[in-house]
């Protein structure tokens, strides 16, 4: 199985059922909710909130309308966080999920820096802190169950499929059959080299809080450096040994001259 979501924000009704299901399945504690300018609660993802629905309110004539955005891990095909981790605490599984193996983690937080979507979160202020992030309900995937948020979603916003290609086809179908309904872009098709979670929305995605990222595969950017290391080793050794041999010969010649 290679898990994939097609998240169609035009279907979202803002019930936050996915948030609750996520907390229940993963045993994550509740957050203190806050009144704010937006209805979003918890306001941001954190170490005990893997997903949330972001509320964007706008006034349309005399009507109040909402656009929703779902936040959570995109489970990139080539994840920056996995490439960042020095101890393979984060891995991309063959089921498609990016999961965390706490017993390896040294707490360097390079995954948090590297993730273009700021998904990995840290248990700040604890004695043995862990990184926390959405697991795509990896334990459920192994039992051939779909992730808790998708299972709960009453409006069909979170559409689960086995294989990213299937969801891409479905997304393209929705875009072509409903002209004008959608902002014509499948977020996650090409972003950072493609992600397992695809998004559709009626408004431009950067208006509802999604990061503007390019198509470059982020691990390739650092690999360009790492892949060049053998050449650097060769050059430094050649230059070092070469200069040592030359200067040593000069030294010996000096000695001969002096004698």
């Amino acid at each position: 199985m290679e898990a994939s979501f097609l998240v169609d924000m035009t279907k979202c009704i803002g019930c936050r059922g996915c948030q609750i299901a996520c907390k229940q399945w993963n045993g994550n504690k509740t957050d203190k909710t806050k009144m704010g300018p937006k209805f979003t609660n918890p306001v941001k993802l954190n170490a005990k909130t893997y997903t949330n629905i972001d509320f964007f309110e706008s006034v349309n004539g005399d009507k109040l309308t909402y656009d929703f955005a779902r936040n959570g891990c995109f489970h990139c095909k080539k994840p920056a966080c996995v490439s960042a981790c020095p101890v393979s605490a984060l891995v991309k599984t063959k089921e498609g999920s990016v999961i965390y193996r706490a017993e390896r983690c040294i707490g360097c937080r390079y995954c948090m820096l590297g993730c273009p979507f700021n998904i990995p979160k840290f248990e700040w202020g604890t004695v043995f802190p862990k990184i926390q992030k959405c697991t795509f309900c990896h334990d459920r995937l192994l039992e051939n169950k779909i992730p808790a948020c998708a299972k709960t979603c009453p409006s069909g916003t979170i559409h689960f499929a086995d294989g990213i290609e299937n969801n891409l086809k479905e997304a393209r179908r929705r875009l072509s059959e409903n002209p004008g309904k959608y902002f014509n872009h499948i977020y996650g098709e090409k972003e950072v080299g493609g992600t397992s979670v695809l998004l559709l929305s009626s408004v431009p995605l950067d208006q509802i809080g999604y990061q503007k990222v390019g198509d470059a595969v982020i691990p390739d950017l650092t690999w360009k450096y790492i892949g060049g290391i053998p050449a650097v080793i060769g050059m430094v050794l050649a230059a070092g040994i070469g200069s040592w041999v030359i200067t040593r010969r000069n030294k010996n010649m000096d000695k001969e001259d002096n004698s």
């Binding site: 360097c108 937080r109 700040w124 802190p129 450096y225």
Partner: protein, 377 residues
């Protein structure tokens, strides 16, 4: 004139100041390990603060003088610089010990700091960095061991180390080149977070060149400070040589930075009037343009005060560069996520603690070991 143990007083006002910082800092460090995590302003959308930006990036850049001097003396056989080999390598050793300690304080699981050694993940720049910190600190310990071995009267061991010194120095140079550049490579992973004034595919190279420039100035700065505090003689010939080296490196660094600017956001971005552009101009003028201009004047290059001024400018400039890459250049992205970062008291006191420990260790080494008055055949 050789400094002797009598000439260096243990307690001077400066040392007492250092001790005060160390006492406050040690308490904060203890609390950090006892409570797991003291309160800092690092947070989910801004995971790295000044412990990484200042202590690790700045500290390692400062230690650049170690490999530059070691390769000049042992590989290029430039005898003139032999008297500064010991202080330069010792400084690098202390710098690396402190950078490694800062990492231990910063990471969430200090007891697992050895994990990268056994859990290889070669796709990770952090893995490359971790291995190099470990190996190069070992090399620096070996490179600076003769002064400790001679104090312990282990002459046999000392002879062995000195015999293989060329090999150690070569290995050290290789590790340094890779480590300095890999610290720049750490930031290749943030193309959408780091401001375009700094993000570039040649960031690793830029880190390496600036570390050489800063290393030369750091060694020169330390020699001048040592002559002032420890009353040892000053070899003007060496200082002028270092200044000439700094001039060449700074000119080259200017080319690198110009390439980054022109191939990236373009010249106008440097004058956009934003916080980032102001920090960029500050970094460039303090760390590159003014020093370069001053070094081009023979009057400055041959005067003690002139060299000291250039040293201070370059050291500050490169530290500003590291802070720009790790903090100021990342703030805009954090702001979009709705957070801000400035270090809190705990972070600042631990950063200062590291600097104070470094200065004190250097002083004690100079007092009890043969660091500055070392004259080899």
């Amino acid at each position: 004139m050789k400094p002797t143990n009598n000439q260096i007083k243990l307690f001077t006002p400066a040392t007492i100041g250092l001790l005060l910082v160390i006492i406050f800092g040690a308490y904060t460090v203890l609390m950090r390990f006892k409570m797991g995590d003291i309160h800092t302003n690092m947070q989910d959308d801004f995971p790295w603060g000044i412990w990484i930006g200042f202590n690790v990036l700045g500290g390692v850049a400062m230690a650049g003088g170690g490999f530059v001097t070691a390769s000049a003396v042992y590989l290029l056989n430039m005898k003139k610089y032999k008297p500064i080999a010991r202080p330069a390598i010792l400084t690098a050793f202390i710098g690396y010990l402190l950078a490694a300690s800062s990492i231990m304080i910063d990471i969430g699981h200090p007891l697992r700091v050895w994990h990268p050694v056994v859990m290889w993940q070669i796709q990770s720049v952090m893995f490359i960095v971790a291995i190099h910190v470990l190996l190069y600190t070992t090399v620096l310990a070996l490179e600076s061991s003769p002064m400790f071995l001679e104090k312990l009267k282990l002459d046999g061991l000392k002879t062995i180390v000195e015999k293989i010194m060329v090999g150690i120095a070569l290995f050290g140079t290789l590790l340094s080149v890779l480590h300095q550049s890999s610290l720049g490579a750490v930031y290749l992973i943030v193309p959408y977070k780091l401001h375009t004034l700094w993000y570039s595919s040649i960031l690793p190279f830029s880190f390496l060149v600036s570390a050489v420039m800063m290393g030369l100035c750091m060694v020169s700065f330390l020699m001048i400070l040592s002559s002032r505090f420890f009353k040892c003689s000053l070899n003007m010939d060496i200082l002028t040589g270092l200044a000439r080296g700094a001039l060449v490196t700074a000119a080259f660094y200017l080319l690198v930075k110009t390439y980054i600017l022109l191939s990236g956001p373009g010249l106008s971005a440097a004058f956009a009037g934003s916080m980032e552009s102001r920090m960029y101009l500050l970094e460039m003028s303090v760390g590159v343009l003014i020093p370069l201009f001053l070094l081009l004047l023979p009057g400055i290059r041959n005067s003690l005060a002139g060299i000291l001024l250039v040293d201070i400018l370059v050291i500050c400039g490169v530290i500003i560069n590291r802070l720009n890459v790790s903090i100021f250049g990342m703030l805009r992205q954090a702001e979009e996520m709705g957070v801000q970062y400035s270090p809190n008291g705990n972070e600042i006191i631990i950063s200062l603690f590291m600097v104070a420990v470094g200065a004190l260790l250097y002083k004690l080494a100079v007092k009890y070991f043969n660091v500055l008055s070392y004259e080899d055949v």
